[in-house]
C-alpha cells in the first residue's frame, strides 16, 4: 500500500508486481479479442435516454453484483474462512424483496422498506454463519454449506416455489438506472469496494483480519478479539450478498428461486483468488477482488459476444482462467523471470539470516 510518488514508471513497475496485474492483462486481452471481431466494440454512445450505452457499460453493470460478493468473500477468505452461502443469501434477499414489493405500492418508500428487509434477512443469515464459525467453532466450509443448502429452500418457501415478479420503479432503477450516465449498480458496487478498501486499510481492521487468517492462535493471544471480528465479517459478507441479490433481481424484477445467485459463490471465490488473495487466508487485496469480478463479467460477456456455442462455453471459460492462474503462479513466473534475466540478476528476496 506504500504510495508510489516516484513517477509513473515506478508506479507501473509496482502494478506489474501485483498479482491482479495479470487479471487486468486478461481483461485487456478479452476486450482486444472482441475488438478484433467488431472494431466498434469499445465504442460508448449516448443511449436512447441520454445515458452511456455500449458493451463496456454492459460489462460494468454485469460486474456489479460479483464485485459486491467478491469484496465480502475477500474479507472472509482473509480470516482463513470461506463463505459458500453467498449465492443462497442472494436468492433469499431477492425472494424477500420480490414478495414484499409484489403487494406493496409502487413508491420510493416501498423500495426502502424492501431494502431494510433485505438487510435484516441477509444480516440474520450472515449471523448464523458467524455464530456457527466463531462461537460453535465449526469449520467455515461446513457452516456456510448449511446455509447454502438451506437458503435456496428458504427462498422457495418464501415465494411458495414460484418465481415471483413485482413492479416498483425505484427498485428497478437500482439495477437499470443511470447516474452521471453510468449504471447505478456499478457506481454503488464501486462505492462499496472503495469504502471497504478505505475502511480496512485506514483502520486496523485489515491487520487484524490478516492476523486471524495467518495464525488464529497467535492473534488471540495477542488480544485480537477473534470471535467478534469473525462474527462481524460473516454478517458483513451476508449483507453484501443480500445487496448483490437485490442487484440481480431488480435487473429483471423477478426472483428465480432456482437460478438467482446460483453458483455465484464460485464466481466470488474465483474473483478473490484472481485478485491475489490466497485461500489459505492472510494477506488480502480488495482491489484485486474487484479486478477479478470485472474479469469474470468480461469473460461472460465475451462468450456471448463471440457467439461461443453453449456447450463450448464452460471449456472456453476454463481455459482463460487456467491460463490466468498459470501466469499468476509463482513458479511459472519465476521461469519467465529467469529467462528474461538470463542469469544477470539474483532472486530479490531470500531467507537472510540476521547478521
Amino acid at each position: 500500500m506504500s504510495a508510489n510518488a516516484r513517477g509513473p514508471v515506478e508506479a507501473l513497475k509496482g502494478l506489474v508486481r501485483r498479482q491482479y496485474f495479470w487479471g487486468i492483462v486478461a481483461v485487456a486481452l478479452l476486450l482486444l479479442v472482441n475488438l478484433v471481431k467488431d472494431p466498434g466494440y469499445l465504442a460508448v454512445s449516448i443511449g436512447p435516454s441520454g445515458n452511456l450505452a455500449g458493451n463496456v457499460i454492459d460489462i460494468l453493470r454485469a460486474a456489479a453484483p460479483v464485485i459486491l460478493i467478491a469484496v465480502g468473500m475477500c474479507l472472509v477468505v482473509a480470516t482463513g474462512g470461506i463463505d459458500l452461502s453467498v449465492g443462497s443469501v442472494m436468492v433469499v434477499a431477492g425472494a424477500v424483496s420480490m414478495e414484499f414489493l409484489k403487494d406493496a405500492p409502487d413508491t420510493v418508500g416501498s423500495t426502502f422498506t424492501a431494502l431494510a428487509l433485505v438487510i435484516a434477512v441477509s444480516a440474520a443469515l450472515g449471523a448464523v454463519n458467524g455464530v456457527l464459525v466463531s462461537v460453535v467453532g465449526l469449520q467455515p466450509f461446513i457452516s456456510t454449506l448449511v446455509i447454502m443448502l438451506a437458503g435456496r429452500g428458504l427462498a422457495k418457501v418464501i415465494t411458495g416455489g414460484q418465481n415471483t415478479a413485482a413492479t416498483n420503479e425505484t427498485f428497478r432503477w437500482i439495477a437499470n438506472g443511470y447516474v452521471f450516465g453510468l449504471p447505478v449498480v456499478f457506481l454503488l458496487a464501486l462505492l462499496v469496494a472503495v469504502g471497504v478498501g478505505l475502511l480496512v486499510r485506514r483502520s486496523a481492521l485489515g491487520l487484524m483480519l490478516e492476523a486471524i487468517g495467518m495464525d488464529a492462535k497467535a492473534a488471540r493471544l495477542a488480544g485480537v478479539n477473534r470471535r467478534a471480528l469473525l462474527f462481524t465479517v460473516y454478517i458483513f459478507g451476508g449483507v453484501l450478498a443480500g445487496f448483490a441479490g437485490v442487484f440481480a433481481t431488480a435487473s429483471v424484477m423477478t426472483v428465480d428461486v432456482s437460478r438467482t445467485g446460483y453458483q455465484l459463490e464460485l464466481d466470488a471465490i474465483l474473483a478473490v483468488v484472481i485478485g491475489g488473495t490466497s485461500l489459505a487466508g492472510g494477506k488480502f487485496n480488495i482491489t484485486g477482488a474487484v479486478v477479478g469480478a470485472i474479469l469474470i463479467a468480461t469473460l461472460d460477456k465475451t462468450v456471448v459476444f463471440l457467439g461461443v456455442s453453449s456447450s463450448a462455453t464452460p471449456a472456453f471459460k476454463a481455459i482463460v482462467i487456467v491460463a490466468l492462474c498459470l501466469l499468476q503462479s509463482e513458479r511459472v513466473r519465476r521461469v519467465f523471470r529467469q529467462r528474461r534475466a538470463a542469469g544477470t540478476a539474483r532472486p530479490a528476496e531470500r531467507e537472510v539470516v540476521a547478521a
Binding site: 465449526l138 435487473s251 423477478t254 453453449s310
Partner: protein
C-alpha cells in the same frame, strides 16, 4: 473434525427420521383394498418449479377418493434419485395397484422396474422417460412432446416472418435432453427456410436474469439487427423482453419473442403484447393418466407412448381468454 462428523451424523439422523415418517405414512394404507379404493403409488419429483407444481397437484387432484382412488404421494427429497428408488421399492413391497413414476434421473431404474414386474404391478411413466428406454419394463409413458411443441413455435415463426428474419435462440443448460429435443423440433422446420437466418444460440440456464444479459449483448453484437428470439422457456423469454426494451426497441414490434411452457407470467406478457407467441408444454395430464390407469386395470392394451395435447397461444386475445383458468 469431530464437528464435521457430528454434522454428518445429524444429517443422517434427520434423513432416517424423515424415512421413518414416510414409512409409517405408507404403512397406514395397508387396508386400502378393504374400503374398495384402488391404491396408486406416485413416485414424484417434488418441489422443482411452477410447472412441476402444477403437474403434480393436478395428478393429486385427479386421483381422489371420490373417484375411487387412494393416491400415495412420495416426492423425492432434494431431487435425489435414491429417495425415489426407496419410495418405489416400498410401494412394490406394499403391493399397490399401480405405480406412477416421474424419474428425477433417467438411468438406473432397471432393477426397480423388474421388481415391480415380478410383483405384477404396472408402472406408468409420467413426463420423464428412462434410459435405456426399454418399453418392456413399463406400461406406457405419458408426456407432452417437446419436439411437437417446438415444431409449433417453428411453424408460427415461418408464417410470422414471410420476408425472412434474423433470429437468436436462448437455450437451457447445454446437454439436457429437453434442450436437445426443443432444438430438434425447431431446427427441423426452420432449417429448411433460407430466409430465416440464425445469428446465434446461447444458454441462459432457464434464467430470466441471465437471458437479459445474453440478449443485451447479442443485440449489440448484431447492431440490433435481430427480429426474432426463440426462448426455450418462459423465464428466459421474459428476460429477453426486458433486454429488448432496455435497448430502446419495442418487443412484439421490432423484435418478436416466442417462448415455450405457457406459465401465467408468460401469458400475461403475451396479453400485453410483449411476447408474440407462447407454446404450452402442458403439465395437466391428470385426466389422460386417469384414463390410462383405468384401461390398464381393465387389462386393455395401451400405446407405449401417449402424448398429452398442448395448446398454443399466438395473440394477446388468446392469452386473455386463457389467463383466468391458468393453473400455473
Amino acid at each position: 473434525m469431530s464437528a464435521k462428523q457430528r454434522i454428518v451424523q445429524g444429517l443422517g439422523l434427520a434423513t432416517a427420521g424423515a424415512l421413518a415418517l414416510g414409512l409409517t405414512a405408507c404403512g397406514g394404507g395397508e387396508g386400502g383394498d378393504d374400503d374398495g379404493l384402488t391404491t396408486i403409488g406416485f413416485v414424484a419429483v417434488g418441489p422443482e418449479g411452477a410447472w412441476r407444481e402444477a403437474n403434480e397437484a393436478n395428478i393429486q387432484d385427479t386421483f381422489t377418493e371420490d373417484a375411487g382412488y387412494e393416491l400415495k404421494y412420495a416426492p423425492a427429497t432434494n431431487l435425489d434419485q435414491k429417495s425415489q428408488i426407496d419410495a418405489f421399492t416400498s410401494f412394490v413391497d406394499e403391493g399397490v395397484d399401480v405405480i406412477l413414476l416421474s424419474a428425477t434421473e433417467a438411468t438406473g431404474w432397471e432393477d426397480s422396474l423388474k421388481r415391480a414386474q415380478e410383483a405384477e404391478i404396472p408402472v406408468i411413466l409420467l413426463d420423464r422417460g428412462i434410459e435405456p428406454d426399454d418399453t418392456d419394463l413399463y406400461v406406457t409413458r405419458i408426456a407432452p412432446d417437446n419436439i411437437e411443441v417446438s415444431t409449433a413455435v417453428a411453424d408460427w415463426a415461418v408464417s410470422a416472418f414471410p420476408d425472412g428474419a434474423n433470429y437468436f435462440v436462448l437455450e437451457g443448460p447445454a446437454g439436457v435432453s429437453v434442450v436437445n429435443e426443443r432444438n430438434e423440433g425447431f431446427d427441423a422446420v426452420v432449417g429448411g427456410q433460407p430466409s430465416l437466418v440464425k445469428v446465434g444460440a446461447q444458454t441462459a440456464n432457464w434464467s430470466t436474469e441471465e437471458a437479459k444479459g445474453v440478449v443485451e449483448t447479442v443485440l449489440k453484437s448484431n447492431n440490433n439487427d435481430v427480429q426474432f428470439i426463440f426462448a426455450q422457456n418462459d423465464e428466459m423469454g421474459l428476460g429477453a423482453v426486458q433486454a429488448v426494451q432496455e435497448a430502446g426497441l419495442t418487443p412484439g414490434v421490432d423484435v418478436k419473442i416466442a417462448t415455450i411452457d405457457g406459465t401465467k407470467n408468460a401469458l400475461t406478457a403475451l396479453a400485453a403484447g410483449e411476447l408474440s407467441f407462447v407454446a404450452e408444454y402442458n403439465p395437466l395430464f391428470g385426466e389422460t393418466t386417469l384414463e390410462v390407469v383405468e384401461q390398464v386395470l381393465n387389462g386393455d392394451d395401451v400405446e407405449s407412448s401417449i402424448v398429452v395435447p398442448s395448446a398454443t397461444f399466438d395473440s394477446p386475445e388468446a392469452a386473455e381468454t386463457a389467463l383466468p383458468d391458468r393453473k400455473f
